[in-house]
Symmetry: C2
């Protein structure tokens, strides 16, 4: 079973076919960065059209059992998420509405301060806000998973503690291995995995040691060491693959509508666009490389299967439905 | 089994308890008249709160099987609908979005011309519009039932013919019995029931012979005669109960935001408010009176059971899911 914990591709029939070639049973896709509620609904509509147009390649994913259906019918189940809480605007009632529409992950912040928490690019981290505490309870209640990939450290640790259900960092790597701002320090990973949460390893070059030149061996050895530290059952893949996106999209991700100036985020003035993916993971057809790389570290077949998808599958099964108290 | 094909009450714990006292297993409730998409979402949110607050009395209804669950657990399943297509605005993609949120009925018009069809108060009836034809196909595809209760005759007959699935008139009576503008002529009822559709009998006094003074005997005899003409399996109840609503609400229903002048609709300047309900049906505790009245006409127990809920149950089961071609 192969499950990718985060992608934001420029979707097309070509990519849907590559998902099938790569044996990808399920993906969590970002459908909103800075979109408000109505704009997010338009993005759900866009996916409804794709599901109608390509019924043999993809299907809507709502529950872990949809992954079983996808496997039985040779399709990829697509699960939805937001990298910012902008789709709920200032309305806690939209948490359940968006879950009903199919949202299964929501980041409490995207780099900046939000109404709920502090993003990883702010100078100060005030932790979870008043509204944030209410929204965490509501996300717990309905089964919308809290994702802290782009949040600041204190906010992330507080979210893990406040949440009555496991949370996730869908796409990042350990800061020890590659000290990027977006990579996560030991205390953060420990807080998330300690509450039963998941950590998805990113292949976005800015998160890799050596960036685009990072070797498969280095990436897989890092995963093996992370498993030793935090427990292999909490680990999965979250490639952050942004295939076929024009550079205008990475600018939208960073700048949205919140500034009139350019913000380069993880890039720089001399390299503002999307970085080149490493040679061993250019697109969805290359999941086999990661699987082989993990085997080469000496992991058992079961351990590799867990990281490639089994752990996400269990996590989806436990966390997408209503909270049982 | 007791199912009401339309209500628009001023919902409260009192009314939810009366639904239980009246043994009502399911109701179709109107949640939008003139509301746009975002306002309609707020109405879904309001119901989510009620489901959370009164889990022992009511539950969200999406499929006929939810009525079985409601009966097993002593609750009322609440199904949602709109009396106007305003929630989809000019965006056909919202048909599926709103179905996903739980909408199961949508009128193509409410008295006036809409983007889709002509309402029963217009002087001219142009039939189904260009967008209307597209929306009928989309409603058929996803399982959102076309309701023509407030539409003009030609538009209704065309909708019945264009639709590949049965349609409904959820709340009206035969024009032959009581010649109100909103009651339906023979050709209209024949078109709807002839395509497998449902006709729900209204107890809104403006639709009754003798209005608030209409007798239970007259109402039930009329149902028996309608069954003889069109087939009993196509008939149900759609009380149009607007319990506990202030008169400002009937003004909103009639006037919305489309005029600055008062429109009295079925009322009049001297009687602009909600009319008094007949003595034998004041609220949801009185469904037993209708059941007794139907038995008194000489109908068999099976026939009465069909009208009281069995026919809606079958119709819900066949028409709320995706179209099978």
């Amino acid at each position: 079973m192969r499950i990718d914990g985060l992608q934001y591709a420029n979707w097309s029939e070509k990519i849907f076919r590559q998902l099938r070639e790569g044996g990808v049973d399920a993906i969590h896709v970002t459908i909103s960065y800075h979109e408000n509620f109505r704009e997010t609904v338009l993005n759900f509509e866009k996916w409804n059209r794709w599901f109608e147009t390509y019924p043999d390649l993809i299907m809507k994913g709502q529950w872990a059992s949809d992954i079983d259906t996808a496997r039985e019918t040779g399709r990829t189940a697509v699960f939805f998420g937001f990298q910012n809480p902008s789709p709920i605007e200032d309305d806690i009632g939209l948490v359940e509405i968006l879950h009903t529409l199919g949202a299964r992950f929501m980041q409490l912040t995207y780099n900046n301060q939000s109404l709920l928490a502090t993003g990883c690019y702010e100078a100060e981290d005030m932790g979870i806000t008043r509204m944030g505490k209410q929204v965490i309870k509501e996300m717990n209640r309905v089964g919308l998973v809290i994702d802290m990939s782009h949040s600041a450290d204190r906010s992330t640790i507080e979210a893990a503690e406040l949440s009555e259900r496991p949370i996730a960092i869908t796409h990042a790597n350990p800061h020890d291995w590659s000290p990027a701002l977006r990579n996560k320090k030991d205390a953060v990973i420990r807080a998330v995995t300690g509450n039963g949460g998941m950590f998805g390893f990113s292949i976005y070059p800015h998160h890799l040691k050596g960036k685009s030149d990072c070797t498969l061996e280095s990436f897989c050895e890092m995963i093996a060491r992370t498993a030793d530290s935090y427990g292999i059952e909490h680990l999965g893949i979250g490639t952050d693959l942004c295939q076929d996106q024009p550079d205008s999209i990475v600018e939208w991700m960073r700048v949205g509508r919140w500034t009139k100036e350019i913000d380069y985020g993880e890039g720089s003035k001399s390299a503002p666009g999307f970085p080149a993916m490493p040679s061993w993971f250019k697109d969805n057809r290359h999941f086999g490389n990661i699987e082989a790389g993990l085997k080469a570290t000496g992991m058992s077949a079961d351990e590799v299967a867990g990281i490639m998808g089994g752990n996400w599958y269990r996590f989806f099964g436990e966390n997408f439905g209503p909270q049982i108290k």
